[in-house]
Amino acid sequence: MSDHGMRISADGVSVLTGADKDMVVTSKLSMLKGSLSGSGVVSVPQNGTPQVVTIAHGLPNIPMVQGFWNDRDGDVFNPGDFYPLPVYIFGFGGTDFAFTLEADATNVTITFIADDFGAGGANIDFKYAYYIFIDKGRL
């Protein structure tokens, strides 16, 4: 592997000694410089009460984040499909759904809301997958 390549650093970071992850561009790594990823499941009541999942990312900045969701048991949606987050309000089978995904300097937060307007439907187990990128989402 050659030591040749190209680096561009942000203002205040040495292009010679700065860490790869602190470069604006480095030919050593792909543009997305690695991530923290994982998955989870949350039981969501259909009474409009938000179920909030927080993932403390431990990064010194607000990261870019990507997420997907899936109806684990196929109660409403095909369990074989994953859909991107966030999801704006939409109705399906008499229930309204809204799922959000956001990041701040401490947490990535995923919120699940389902509301069947008093029909008394059982909780739905939603599975989620997340990818938190080391790159800065906001400088």
Binding site: S39, A56, G58, L59
Partner: protein, 119 residues
């Protein structure tokens, strides 16, 4: 992989991927609205600190490979058995509980008068 589970039920509700976990991974934390003291961590793989690696639950490494593959085996279908601290599939836990219940009920059965009595 770091598995997060509810300490009261053992149910795995979240994961962080990976085999070698540095400080960044260990500082990360998932919570579905629970207090940190209600959440346990089960690590499969290595923790790297000060350049040294320590293995955790490496007897589950083949299971970890299944979690990472495209197989339908998901860590979210597992539970930490609160008695043994072992990681078991939820179905297996139900079977174990049923077997234990059967055993308990047979232990509690009235003694058979015809059975030999050892003194």
């Amino acid at each position: 992989m770091i598995l997060f589970y509810k300490k009261n039920t053992g149910e795995v509700f979240g994961t962080i991927d990976g085999r070698v976990h540095g400080e960044a991974n260990l500082n990360a934390f998932i919570s579905p609205g629970l207090h940190p003291e209600e959440i346990g961590k089960f690590i499969i793989g290595w923790v790297e600190k000060d350049g040294k690696r320590m293995g955790y639950n490496l007897d589950k490494f083949e299971l970890l490979q299944e979690f990472e593959s495209v197989s339908p085996v998901s860590p979210l279908d597992f539970k930490v058995d609160l008695e043994s601290g072992n990681l078991l599939k939820k179905d297996a836990l139900v079977q174990n509980a049923e077997l234990k219940e059967e055993k308990d009920s047979s232990d509690n059965e009235q003694p058979n008068d015809d059975a030999p009595i050892n003194v």
